[in-house]
Symmetry: none
């Protein structure tokens, strides 16, 4: 069974997914000349033509012009590996770009649901081609733990307003319970406070990202070190953020 090695346009079209007209076009402009003809004029394509077509489709997928593709294919006809590496790099760039769009979109969704509005300039920024990787790095650095951040973005993007109402209600209840515990004189390392800390951890895990005890400890550290948190929370009760921090540590340590 030497592979028959001779396909007509229709067969090639069905195998590859491009149209017959496209094959005609590629033949016309010399990008993919049929390597043979039957006596009656039918185009015949060989396996090597299929290989070339595949390359063409790859570069087309990446939005190259046909003339560019022709140049690329002619240029480094020798280096097969170069092609592959090239394509690989470009695909990764595209992944990065799409990822950037995704992240931006997710941010917008979240922002919208929480009633925050981005400025038009902020919104257009993501389309700039050069700043993509930068944008990405910035987001990663801001949140140190990339996975948690990404996971959070993924999940919250799908939330509806109802979800957010519910989430906020849960969070408020947790905060109120903490406040009550403080008022009741419950020690931060006591069972009540620890239970509330556990509730808090599960709240995060349920709605935002998987939050283990280690992660929770990190959060606790942030709660007493980041002024954005301490300021808001210590308005609720004196020493609130410190109390929550201690409760989290107690809960994490006991687990």
């Amino acid at each position: 069974m030497p592979p028959v090695d001779e396909y007509t346009v229709g067969t090639v079209a069905r195998m590859s997914g491009v149209s017959v007209r496209t094959l005609h076009h590629y033949d016309e402009i010399g990008l993919l000349p049929a390597s043979g003809r039957t006596e009656s004029g039918y185009r015949l394509y060989a396996d090597t033509d299929l290989e070339r077509l595949r390359r063409i489709m790859f570069y087309r997928e990446l939005d190259f012009g046909l003339d560019e593709i022709a140049r690329i294919l002619e240029d480094q006809q020798a280096g097969d590996d170069d092609h592959l590496r090239r394509q690989h790099r470009m695909l990764r760039e595209r992944q990065a770009r799409t990822a950037g769009l995704l992240r931006a979109l997710e941010q917008e969704m979240e922002a919208r649901q929480m009633g925050i509005k981005l400025t038009p300039e902020e919104q257009f920024e993501i389309f700039g081609t050069d700043t993509f990787e930068e944008h990405q790095r910035e987001a990663e650095q801001r949140w140190g733990d990339t996975d948690a951040w990404k996971q959070s973005q993924r999940r919250t993007a799908a939330y509806t307003k109802e979800d957010w109402v519910r989430i906020k209600a849960e969070a408020d209840a947790n905060i109120a319970a903490f406040a009550a515990a403080i008022e009741a004189g419950e020690p931060a390392d006591g069972p009540v406070a620890r239970a509330l800390a556990e509730e808090h951890r599960q709240h995060i895990s349920r709605w935002f990202y998987e939050c283990g005890y280690d992660m929770h400890r990190n959060l606790a550290a942030m709660y007493i070190s980041d002024p954005r948190y301490t300021k808001t929370w210590d308005d609720i009760a004196e020493g609130f953020s410190q109390y929550v921090h201690d409760a989290i540590l107690a809960n994490a340590g006991s687990a």
Copy 2:
């Protein structure tokens, strides 16, 4: 200072990254009419126009036609969230598609380094549009019989009579070659028989479903255990199915 809220074409172009001509075009076809004009005829765009432009650019990035975009934007003018979710879904699909291409490319790079050649069909397979997530999941797991069967069904459905003639010719040639190899006393684990086994695998991959070495081993097992095969094949020559089975294993093991 109230937000300026009135931009000329050039400003919008610089902010958004599209060309002035594109803005003119979108105005002409009514996709993004300038919300105002100065006395001297200069187009003026407001913030809401920028928002709309951003949406347009998003859908364009995803290769929608301008008329489609117009319909989408008019259709669900109410549901902002719907837009966002829609875009989100599409971006994720694109991520999946690019990931699929990447995976295939990496596979090819690896294969090339190991000196193995993929069949053309294996290579084209990744370009199929609808079945990407499915394809990916399938590839992640190992191929079960049902998946191979479904893929086979999908592909063979499009084959014409011509294709089938060609397929049968290829298959017959392979069988005849195996029979000749047996007659010539070629060992089942020798180079000739292994080459024929490889030809057989590529035949399957080319016309029916992606058949890797693992899958091929499964097939081999079936050839000696399923009476429908043994009966037909052992009519050709004594021990035919066993011989084919051994050759396939030898070929798969050596790869």
